[in-house]
């Protein structure tokens, strides 16, 4: 798994690639916790290049949502591949988080 980051008008856009499973999720959690503790609480996760997510990856998403919202921000998802979307939907997460077609829409949603 790889994470690349860019900041657009105060929104951190994190592009994930590879798999979010029990092997890689601790690294993703560490990365997100470091972001949030550095004051970045408006975060977009661009998942276009994520080929697999399991329940371990969902824990990363849930933790990031809770932590950013506690800090007054939010954690939003963009560009979900079909398989990733299915897992997010099966878990019922579509009702508690905001999902966008692409990272740009997700990023600009913070300015509305």
């Amino acid at each position: 798994m790889e994470i690349t980051e860019k900041d657009v008008d105060g929104v951190a856009i994190l592009s994930f690639s590879g798999s979010l499973d029990a092997l890689t999720s601790p690294e993703a959690t560490d990365y997100l916790e470091a972001c949030i503790s550095n004051g970045k609480n408006q975060i977009v996760a661009d998942l276009a290049a994520v080929d697999f997510i399991s329940s371990a990856g969902l824990r990363v998403v849930l933790t990031a949502m809770k932590q950013t919202r506690l800090a007054g921000g939010d954690f939003r998802l963009a560009a979900l591949p079909d398989g990733v979307h299915k897992v997010i939907a099966m878990a019922g997460f579509t009702s508690i988080l905001k999902i966008y077609d692409d990272a740009e829409s997700a990023s600009s949603s913070f300015r509305k």
Binding site: D21, A22, L23, F52, L58, R69, D82, K86
Partner: protein, 143 residues
């Protein structure tokens, strides 16, 4: 045509992507579509994660043996381990109306196995534990 494939790896988290790639590759050879392949990989990954983190907890990791069998009507995944028995009992559906602060991220692994597979069977003997997952290639009423 060969319709059975096997892979054995040490029960470590590093084996997860290796098992998934193997499963994906043999399914592609048999013309299995992407959504179906994702379901199989998800169920297998969740089962193996449980074995690695719970079945072999506190001991040196033993092995996980995976066998994939292609039948005209279904695909059968058999996952054998030699650790502690950890039966994947079906769990309740998550409460999709729960507020964010009430959500917990545990229990989804077993839930996903039961959501994506048509049959889940767990047997344990003095030697090993074997989980058998079956996914039908067609809906029963369409067969």
């Amino acid at each position: 045509m060969v319709n059975s494939y096997k892979m054995t790896r040490a029960a470590e988290l590093e084996a997860l992507p290796i098992f998934r790639d193997f499963l994906d590759s043999v399914c592609k050879e048999h013309g299995i579509g992407s959504e179906f392949r994702y379901d199989l990989k998800l169920a297998m990954d969740e089962a193996c994660t449980n074995i690695i983190t719970h079945g072999y907890a506190g001991m040196n990791p033993g092995s996980i043996m995976m066998e994939v069998q292609f039948q005209p009507s279904h695909i059968r995944l058999s996952i054998t381990d030699f650790g502690l028995a950890f039966e994947p009992v079906e769990t309740a559906a998550p409460d999709v109306n729960a507020l964010l602060e009430d959500r917990v991220a545990s229990g989804f692994g077993l839930y996903f196995i039961y959501q994506t597979m048509d049959e889940v069977e767990y047997r344990t003997t003095v030697d090993c534990n074997m989980l058998t997952l079956v996914k039908r290639r067609h809906a029963p009423d369409a067969a």
